[in-house]
Symmetry: C2
Subunit: 406 residues, 2 copies
């Protein structure tokens, strides 16, 4: 399977778990330990996981210590192996429901034994001065709870995308950050990835003239699974489906390539009947966004269709083609037209470490955060507008902050 | 310029002409003769026009004689040079407002002098037994009038697409055909072109599984012009703009590839201000169509954007990629996925002649017409639904016959 066909997967087993776990972290951790899927966080390390063979290089004195909360496939396979590229961030602690995994990963990354936390233990992290920030890499439905717990422990937070299940949760998270006077950043890695950064710059420079159309596709066909086996198809943990997970990259691209917020949205959703993968979530989401400039974005995302990870811009003076557009690695980008060129602006895999460094600077120097909680909130509002449009079968007007206008 | 960047162009000069010409064909013909654009029908033959060096091969006794009405770029450069591929159709007469062009083209195609008509002369064609059918290759705004004149002369009609400026005109044309008891066919050449026919068959055979997404693009950037120079940007002659002309290929593709009619449509239009090209028409049209199966089509067409002539289908079992999709020649088509293959089903240029043969069979044997006036009417209704959605900024419901449901 190619890179963009492998989003983070599998985490916990029990469909109705999320709601229960919000009330009782002990139950959550116990369920992690019972998890039956080989790719879940609660199970031993799956084969093929990359663990570093030597401890990370010596760190700067002002390096920010991150506690990684959730040792699922994305953390272990994508993000953690690349953290060593960070200039001033390092793994200071681990939080997992699986003691064996804590030991193996802790040993591999040189995390001291007393910085390996279970979920029941998490509150103790408040007193751990080695931990400056918490990186939430849990299923979406658990982001709000654990972000707020991290703020309660006095830590800064880097939270995986999507920020949460709903805009209401996002607002709670932002309020918690404010109360705690701590930083909140959303891990929108494409904002730190050389190809996408170059694309933003090229679009600002009008390398394809005035933008008239953005088309994105984030689609793949998911193998057999069900809400009790895979959190990504579990509504309480994942939200509506591929839009929050994979399609969010396309939505984000449309916004940062045009540099605009949509003023209206029309969307459709679809799920085949009788398919356990789509018992709780949509299989397909399509949306058309109209921007004030006249540009239009057409987005599509699917867990049940051929496709890819593609962003295409058509302008009055040429085209930008990114394929794959927002993958973990292997980005390709070209412009067709008078400014035609292939671009190779750098190693995409720095995206993982650069967002840690970015938050480190915000913590140390107070520099502004490029992908703050407000951006995560804005995107959840747009996602909600997309679902509202699809449900009502009508075009929805959207305010500049992403709220529905009715 | 490549083939699909060269739709038919330039025809008559005067912006307000269409309305006047409907009342006074003499004025129309006079205006053709005065036309100032080098690419117009009323001017001498432009350089580079292909005229046959020898008269066409001998024809079958039952060959249908066509009068070609309108000797513009499409007729002269694309359609007429390929008519010789027809089995049982031939050019029997010409109708043009330019005597020099009538002479040159008539000589080249072996059309007798007494079968060369001016617009003022047209009524005389009723008595010309060499002419069985009339092929209307005029600007869209003149289709209804000259189709109805042809029926009044007792002839069958092949009418270029789009069928007319409005669904009301289409209904008048269909009624005229019924009254005259003559055949009416719309020149939707892709229904007679081997790649698109093969694509329809592959989609019916589920070569990419269940269709979830169709994406089409028919876009190019038009050079400087104005409504008085180029009928394609003149609202009275062209309708709303690129949708009727170029984008109609994408709309048609979405219907014949899915085999469905949409149940709802949301669309946006855009035109830059202060641009003489878009003083009367839209520059861009984007539409999202939802089908009963759950499939979605996203269409875009533009006269002012990079792009191409592309149809893309994503299904549960693979992708169909047609690029260029509906050009005069040079089609390319492949499937990606388990049934992956390149296709080369035949010479696309037979599309021009095969539609003449198709109408010939309908006339001689009474076989059903694949692209009847009712299809043209259906498409005009969908075009009107697209504009209605864009104008109202809302999603429109559509009935199976293409009418708005409100």
């Amino acid at each position: 399977m190619i890179d963009h066909m492998m989003p983070r997967r599998g985490f916990i087993e029990v469909g109705g778990l999320a709601a229960a776990s919000l009330a009782a972290p002990a139950t959550l951790a116990a369920s992690f330990a019972q998890a039956g899927d080989a790719r879940t966080e609660g199970r031993p390390l799956p084969e093929g996981v990359k663990l570093p063979s030597s401890p990370p290089r010596r760190r700067r004195a002002d390096s920010i210590g991150f506690a990684i909360v959730g040792l699922g496939g994305y953390a272990l396979n994508q993000m953690m192996p690349r953290i060593d590229q960070a200039e001033r961030a390092h793994v200071a602690a681990l939080v997992s429901g699986n003691p064996d995994k804590l030991r193996q990963v802790g040993d591999a990354y040189g995390v001291p034994e007393d910085a390996r936390y279970s979920y029941e233990d998490f509150a103790r992290i408040a007193a751990d001065d080695r931990v400056d920030a918490v990186y939430i890499v849990l299923p979406t439905g658990l982001h709000a709870e654990w972000t707020i717990r991290a703020f309660a422990a006095g830590k800064h937070v880097l939270c995986e995308k999507p920020m949460a299940i709903s805009s209401v949760e996002c607002e709670r998270m932002i309020a918690a950050a404010r109360r705690a006077d701590r930083k909140l950043m959303i891990a929108y890695r494409s904002h730190f990835e050389p190809y996408n950064l170059e694309a933003m710059k090229l679009m600002r420079q009008k390398a394809v003239g005035d933008i008239r159309l953005v088309r994105t596709e984030q689609s793949y066909r998911m193998g057999p699974t069900s809400p009790s086996q895979n959190w990504r198809v579990n509504r309480a943990l994942a939200g509506g489906g591929p839009l929050e997970d994979y399609g969010l990259y396309g939505l984000q691209s449309a916004l940062y390539l045009t540099g605009e917020m949509p003023e209206s949205i029309s969307a459709t959703t679809f799920r085949p009947t009788g398919d356990p993968r789509f018992a709780e979530i949509f299989a397909h989401v399509s949306a058309q966004l109209q921007f004030p400039s006249g540009a239009v974005a057409q987005l599509v995302t699917s867990y049940d269709s051929a496709g890819g990870n593609i962003a295409l811009v058509r302008g009055t003076g040429g085209s930008l083609i990114m394929d794959p557009a927002t993958s973990y690695a292997g980005q390709k980008m070209r412009i067709e037209g008078p400014n035609g060129a292939e671009f190779n602006p750098g190693d995409p895999t720095v995206q993982f470490a650069r967002q840690l460094d970015h938050l480190a600077s915000a913590i140390r120097e107070g520099t502004p955060i490029r992908t703050p909680g407000e951006m995560g909130l804005r995107d959840l509002r747009l996602i909600e507008a997309i679902y509202a449009s699809a449900k009502a079968g009508r075009t929805e007007k959207v305010a500049p902050d992403g709220r529905l206008r009715r």
